[in-house]
C-alpha cells in the first residue's frame, strides 16, 4: 500500500557517522526501517552503533549489503557529490535531506538524472524524506504522527506536512505514502512526479498536495490532475501573504519581482483542476474530507 518505499526497502545511509546521520538513523531503525549499511569514506569496516556495517563507498553498500535506497545527511558542500555517487551505483531511490546545496550543483545533478539513462529517482534536497507508515521511514519526520492508510501526501514543506498528516491521523485517516519533495528551486522529484505515482498506486485512494509560492511545480501538477486524476485531491499553498522578491526561508519560495509564482495563481490552477482547496493551513485534512469519505 505504497509507492517508492516499503518493508522490503534496504537502506544505506550516506553520512551515517555524523551527528545528524547518527541521530536520524537511530530514529529510523526504531521505526522499523531496514538499514543495511552506512557510508563514511575512510571508516569502511567499522560498525555503526554495533548494528550497521560502514562502507567506504556506496558501490560497496550495494554489492555487499544489497542496498536499494539511499538517504543523504552529508554537509551541503558535499551533497551533490554524494547524490552523484549514489546515481552511479545505480541505486533506484536516493533521498537527500541536506539543506543549503548550491543551486548550480543541483543543475548539474539534474542534468545527470535526466539525460544519462539513469535508473535513479532523487527526492529532495532540502526535504524531510519519505515515509510509508508502519513499514519504512526514511528521513527526519516524526514517525508516530503517521498511521497506515490510503491517503497519499506530497509537499514542499516539512513541518507543514506534519501538520496535514497530524490532522488526517486525528480524524482517523491513515496515509499510504508521504513524500517531502523539498523547498529548493531545483530538485529531483516534482509535485507532478509525485502526484502521478500516487495516482497510479492502487493502494492510494486520495491525494493531498501542499505547495509553496515560487516556480510552477503546482501549476504543472494541476494540469496533470485536470487531465488524468480521478482520485479526490485536496491542496494548500503557503505564502499568500509573502512579499515579492524575498526568499521565504526555503530557497525556492520566492515570488519574483515580476510577480511570477504567487499563491493566488497556484490556488487558481487548483480550482481549475477541481482540487478541493484549503485556504487555511488548519483545514487541510478537512478540505480532503469534503470530497473523500474514506
Amino acid at each position: 500500500m505504497s509507492i517508492l518505499v516499503n518493508k522490503d526497502t534496504r537502506l544505506v545511509v550516506q553520512g551515517i557517522t555524523g551527528k545528524t546521520g547518527t541521530f536520524h538513523t537511530q530514529q529510523c531503525v526504531e521505526y522499523g526501517t531496514n538499514v543495511v549499511a552506512g557510508v563514511t569514506p575512510g571508516k569502511g569496516g567499522q560498525m555503526w552503533e554495533d548494528k550497521v556495517p560502514v562502507c567506504n563507498t556506496v558501490e560497496e553498500a550495494v554489492q555487499q549489503h544489497g542496498a536499494n535506497a539511499s538517504v543523504i545527511y552529508v554537509p551541503p558542500a558535499f551533497a551533490a557529490d554524494s547524490i552523484l555517487e549514489a546515481i552511479e551505483a545505480d541505486i533506484p531511490l536516493v533521498i537527500c535531506i541536506t539543506e543549503g546545496v548550491p543551486v548550480r550543483d543541483m543543475a548539474e545533478v539534474r542534468r545527470r538524472l535526466y539525460f544519462h539513462n539513469t535508473k535513479t529517482r532523487l527526492i529532495g534536497p532540502n526535504c524531510p524524506g519519505i515515509i510509508t507508515p508502519g513499514e519504512c521511514k526514511i528521513g527526519i519526520m516524526p514517525g508516530y504522527i503517521h498511521k497506515p492508510g490510503r491517503v497519499g501526501v506530497v509537499s514542499r514543506s516539512g513541518t507543514l506536512t506534519y501538520e496535514a498528516v497530524w490532522q488526517l491521523s486525528q480524524r482517523g485517516h491513515g496515509q499510504s505514502t508521504c513524500i517531502g519533495i523539498g523547498g529548493d528551486p531545483i530538485n529531483g522529484t516534482s509535485q507532478l512526479d509525485a502526484v502521478r505515482m500516487l495516482n497510479e498506486d492502487p493502494e492510494t485512494d486520495a491525494i493531498i498536495m501542499i505547495g509553496e509560492i515560487g516556480g510552477s511545480a503546482e501549476e504543472d501538477a494541476c494540469a496533470y490532475i485536470k487531465a488524468h486524476v480521478k482520485k479526490p485531491v485536496a491542496g494548500f499553498i503557503a505564502g499568500a501573504s509573502a512579499p515579492k522578491g524575498r526568499t521565504m526561508g526555503h530557497a525556492g519560495a520566492i515570488v519574483s519581482a515580476s510577480g511570477a509564482g504567487t499563491a493566488e495563481a497556484k490556488f487558481a490552477a487548483m480550482e481549475d483542476a477541481g482540487v478541493s482547496i484549503a485556504r487555511n493551513p488548519s483545514e487541510i485534512a478537512d478540505a480532503l474530507l469534503r470530497i473523500y469519505k474514506g
Binding site: P76, V103, A251, A253
Partner: protein, 395 residues
C-alpha cells in the same frame, strides 16, 4: 546576495567585459578624488543602492534623479553633494527609501543603441538561460509582457556550458554585424564565465550599449549570488553591504534564524519555512497583519529562541506574538523550556499566544502552565491566530 553596480562592474572587468572608466566614493574627500580622475567633460553620477529604478527616483528632500549625466566637474560635485547621505526613493525601495552611502562616477559615452543582456538560472528547465533584447535600457519585464517576440532566450546546459555558436546565435538575433559580433561574443563569454565561476543566480547588463564609435560596453550591471554557495567565495562575501540590510535580519542571520521583517504588528515564531509562511497567511486570514517571517529551524535551542524573542521585540511595531511549533524531532517540552527561559530573560510586554503540537506536547504545555509566564495557550493553529488577532485589535 546582491552587490552594488560599481562592485559588479569591477567583477565584469576581471572577466574582460568593457565598462566605462569609473570611480566609487563614500565621503566628500573621495568624491573630489574620484571626480579629479575624470575629464572636465560629460560625467555620470550614480547613487549606489541595492534597488532598481534609480534614474527615475526622487530623494526625500525633493532632489530628482539618482543617476545624473552632467557637464563638467563642478556640476558633478554639485550632484554628488545632493545625493551623498541623502535618501533615495524608487519604485523598488518602498516609501521609506534607501540612504545613499556610496556614489559612482563614470565617463559618459555617446550611445548609438541600448540592448539588454542577462543570464539567469531558469528553475523550470534547471538550466542557465541567456535572455537578450534589442529593447535595452527599459524595464525588461514590460518588454516580456508587451512584446515577447523581442526577447531572445537561449538555454545553456550546465554540463556543456556556453559554446561559440550560442554567442553567434544571440549576436545575430540582436542584429550585430562584422566586428560587433566578435565584441559581443567576447562579452557574453566573459559574462557566462563570471556567472558560472561565482555561482551567480543572475547577471544582468541593462543597458549594454553600442557607442557612436562602434564599441560595445556595459553601462549598468546587476549581479545576485546563490546564498547557498557564498561559502565558496570569500571574495564575494566581502562585497556584502550591511547598510543595505535590515539590522534585525543581520542579527537573525548571526543566530542562524531565517527572519524577514514585514510591515504588520503581529510577530510570529515558527519552526519550518512552510509552516512559518502558513502562519503568516492564517494571521492575515483572520484580519491581522504579520510583522515578520521567522523560521527557528528544526533544531532550535534555548539560546536561539531567546535571540528570536529579542529580535521580534526590537521591532517597535510589534503588538503581539504568536509562537507556533509543530514538534517533530524537536520535542515540545524542549521548546517550552526555551520559551520560559526566554520570557525570563527578555521583558515580553505584549500579548503572547503559544500553540504547541506534536512530540511531547502534554509535557510542553505543562511546563508553560506551571512557569507563571503570562501567555495564552492555544490548541490549534486557527484558534491561536484568532486569539492573537483579537488581543492585538481589542487590547
Amino acid at each position: 546576495m546582491n552587490i552594488h553596480e560599481y562592485q559588479a562592474k569591477r567583477l565584469l572587468q576581471e572577466y574582460e567585459v568593457p565598462v566605462p572608466r569609473g570611480y566609487a566614493a563614500t565621503n566628500s574627500r573621495e568624491v573630489e578624488t574620484a571626480i579629479s580622475h575624470l575629464g572636465d567633460d560629460m560625467i555620470v553620477v550614480k547613487a549606489q543602492i541595492h534597488a532598481g529604478g534609480r534614474g527615475k527616483g526622487t530623494f526625500t528632500d525633493g532632489y530628482k534623479g539618482g543617476v545624473k549625466v552632467v557637464k563638467g566637474r563642478e556640476a558633478a560635485l554639485d550632484a554628488a553633494n545632493h545625493m551623498l547621505d541623502n535618501t533615495l526613493v524608487t519604485a523598488q525601495t518602498g516609501p521609506e527609501g534607501r540612504k545613499v552611502q556610496t556614489l559612482y562616477f563614470t565617463e559618459a559615452c555617446d550611445i548609438e543603441h541600448e540592448y539588454y543582456l542577462a543570464i539567469v538560472l531558469d528553475r523550470e528547465t534547471a538550466q542557465s538561460m541567456i535572455i537578450a533584447s534589442t529593447e535595452g535600457g527599459t524595464d525588461i519585464e514590460a518588454v516580456a509582457e508587451e512584446t515577447p517576440e523581442k526577447l531572445v532566450r537561449v538555454p545553456i546546459s550546465p554540463t556543456m556550458g556556453l559554446r561559440h555558436y550560442h554567442c553567434r546565435r544571440v549576436a545575430f538575433a540582436l542584429g550585430f554585424e562584422g566586428d560587433q559580433v566578435k565584441q559581443f561574443a567576447r562579452i557574453l563569454t566573459g559574462l557566462y564565465k563570471m556567472y558560472w565561476e561565482k555561482n551567480a543566480m543572475l547577471v544582468e547588463i541593462n543597458p549594454l550599449v553600442t557607442t557612436k564609435q562602434g564599441q560595445l560596453m556595459a553601462l549598468d550591471a546587476k549581479v545576485s549570488f546563490d546564498a547557498n554557495a557564498i561559502f565558496q567565495h570569500p571574495e564575494i562575501q566581502q562585497l556584502r553591504d550591511l547598510n543595505e540590510e535590515d539590522p534585525k535580519e543581520i542579527e537573525a542571520s548571526k543566530h542562524n534564524l531565517a527572519y524577514i521583517a514585514l510591515d504588520g504588528n503581529i510577530a510570529c515564531m515558527v519552526n519550518g519555512a512552510g509552516l512559518a509562511m502558513a502562519t503568516m497567511d492564517i494571521i492575515k486570514s483572520f484580519g491581522g497583519e504579520p510583522a515578520n517571517f521567522l523560521d527557528v529551524g528544526g533544531g532550535a535551542n534555548e539560546d536561539q529562541v531567546t535571540a528570536a524573542f529579542k529580535i521580534i521585540l526590537s521591532d517597535p511595531n510589534v503588538k503581539g506574538i504568536l509562537v507556533n511549533i509543530f514538534g517533530g524531532i524537536m520535542k515540545c517540552d524542549v521548546i517550552a523550556r526555551g520559551i520560559v527561559a526566554a520570557a525570563r530573560n527578555v521583558d515580553i510586554t505584549v500579548p503572547l499566544v503559544v500553540r504547541l503540537e506534536g512530540t511531547n506536547v502534554e509535557a510542553g504545555k505543562k511546563i508553560l502552565r506551571e512557569s507563571g509566564v503570562a501567555l495564552t495557550p492555544a490548541d490549534s493553529l486557527a484558534q491561536a491566530a484568532e486569539i492573537i488577532v483579537d488581543q492585538v485589535k481589542n487590547g
